[in-house]
């Protein structure tokens, strides 16, 4: 399945009933050099739009929202150890966490790449 995007500049890559979540290239570019991430606890359940983590650069801090309702199944310990991965490979090695979807229909409200690109240019 294709990657989905939120208006809050997160991306989701859905495989089966699990989505991998990270921040977009546009988001990391706006933040600048990422120096710290706070990741959620594995096993914790969040509603869509809950604050699930934090990403900080030297100049700014931003909340990372849970894009969909679900339970955290895995977090990226490599990102915690090397937050710069969010800059160097935001859609790959810089992923934040994986979430087991409670309600797959929530994905329908999210943007595809074309919509997000247009959105982020005008944001």
């Amino acid at each position: 399945m294709a990657i989905k995007y939120t208006p809050d500049h997160e991306w989701l890559n859905v495989e089966g009933d699990t989505a991998t979540v990270g921040i977009t290239h546009h988001a990391q570019d706006a933040l600048g050099d990422v120096v710290f991430v706070d990741l959620p606890e594995v096993g914790k359940t969040f509603a869509a739009k809950d604050v699930a983590g934090v990403v900080e650069s030297v100049k700014a801090a931003a909340d990372v929202y849970m894009p969909v309702t679900g339970e955290i199944t895995e977090v990226n310990e490599a990102l915690r150890a090397d937050p710069a991965l969010a800059n160097t490979d935001p859609l790959g090695a810089g992923w934040f966490f994986k979430v087991k979807l409670s309600n797959a229909s929530e994905l329908d409200a999210l943007m595809d790449e074309t919509s997000y690109t247009a959105f982020s240019v005008n944001a």
Partner: protein, 399 residues
């Protein structure tokens, strides 16, 4: 994600420039260099260039960085009474400052609160050159004019740009174009000619800055600012540095940012800026008092040096987090029992020290070096230790 600063930047970069913002004489150069521009002190200013804040910070510490600080206010005080008149506004020794030397000062209000911090320089011939903060300059100039305009000429210099060249290789780069600057020591200055090859540019410069590094601040007519900046950027050591790195550099150097760390609600005693008040202006000095808020400031000073500071007195301190979690501006500080004892006024992950550093105000009882306090970051306690400043050793050139 929910952005604070970056969201504004995204909006800025996507929409037409805010036409109400002022532009420095280097605006076109910033855009050509690919800077990300943000509103600051009423100006459109470069927050970072494509290299990014971290790279710019490190470059300044190891080589030389060029900063556009033309938003800052420059003015001259001229007349035989200028030094004595200016002394009536700041708790600092102006009269005895030798010709050719620069000093830090604080404009105070009648309650002893800090209106602005500034640098001033004795140019000789009854002339004092003053640099104030950009965000405060309109108010400062009006204040100075109103208070001492009858005793000396107060002459704003909006025709002048200000560039800072900072870092251990600043002197190498600048002395190539302006031989002689290498002879200056920290907090001295003078008139120099910068030979760009294509033209000779007259400048007034001081060996000082806001990064903790050796370096220069260069006042130049706006018509020649871009040519000067290009000549400096053509030197192998020099790269352009934005306001983002300027902030991380100054915090590591333990230097206050007006509006964050000091303002009209803080006085020089609380702000731990007593080093800026020479003995001659303190109790027992030859020209003790005689500045706005003197009674209050000198009483606070006597209390702070006595056996015990009065309860409730706050003091500015440096703080280092004991976990690798950045502690930002406005974070609450508590004692071990959950009582609020203060607040962070500036904080970030220091790129050179590679630790979260901050400055803030704590109850004086918690101000001793090594005292542990607790910062509340997103509801979670982060232990911090009161630390001496600067966080990174300064490398001023003292000859």
């Amino acid at each position: 994600m929910d952005f604070d600063l970056p969201l504004q930047e995204i909006a800025m970069s996507a929409s037409a420039p805010d036409s109400s913002l002022l532009l420095t004489p280097l605006n076109a150069l910033h855009l050509e260099l690919g800077a990300r521009m943000v509103p600051f002190a009423g100006y459109s200013m470069p927050v970072q260039y494509p290299a990014g804040l971290m790279a710019e910070h490190h470059h300044t510490r190891k080589a030389a960085g060029l900063f556009d600080v033309s938003h800052m206010g420059q003015l001259r005080l001229v007349g035989p009474d200028a030094a004595a008149a200016f002394e009536s506004l700041i708790p600092v020794d102006v009269i005895d400052l030798p010709v050719g030397k620069q000093r830090y000062g604080l404009l105070l209000n009648d309650e002893g609160g800090i209106i602005d911090d500034l640098m001033f320089f004795n140019k000789g011939n009854n002339e004092i050159f003053v640099i104030v903060n950009g965000a405060c300059k309109v108010g400062d100039i009006a204040h100075i004019q109103a208070q001492i305009g009858s005793r000396c000429q107060v002459i704003p210099m909006p025709e002048m740009a200000l560039l800072a060249l900072q870092g251990p290789q600043a002197v190498t780069a600048l002395s190539r174009l302006a031989p002689g600057v290498e002879k200056l020591v920290f907090m001295t200055g003078g008139n120099f000619t910068v030979d760009t090859g294509a033209q000779k540019i007259e400048v007034f410069l001081t060996r000082s800055g806001y990064t903790g590094e050796d370096g220069f601040e260069i006042s130049v007519h706006k018509d020649h600012a871009e040519a000067l900046a290009r000549a400096l950027l053509a030197q192998a050591e020099v790269k352009p540095i934005g306001l983002g790195a300027r902030n991380s550099l100054r915090l590591e150097a333990g230097l206050c940012l007006y509006g964050n760390d000091i303002d009209t609600t803080t006085n020089p005693v609380e702000a731990n800026l007593l080093w800026a008040m020479q003995k001659v202006r303190r109790a027992g000095g030859a020209r003790a008092g005689g500045f706005p808020g003197a009674t209050k400031i000198l009483a606070a000073l006597a209390d702070s040096t006595g056996a015990a500071a009065p309860k409730g007195t706050k003091k500015r301190v440096g703080l280092i987090a004991l976990e690798r979690i950045p502690v930002r501006d406005h974070t609450e500080l508590q004692d071990g029992q959950g009582n609020k004892i203060g607040e962070v006024t500036s904080g970030l992950l220091g790129p050179t020290i590679d630790k979260p550093v901050a400055m803030g105000y704590v109850d004086a009882a918690f101000s001793a070096l090594g005292t542990q306090v607790v910062a509340i970051v997103r509801g979670k306690p982060v232990p911090m230790e009161v630390s001496g400043m600067p966080f990174v050793p300064t490398r001023y050139y003292r000859g």
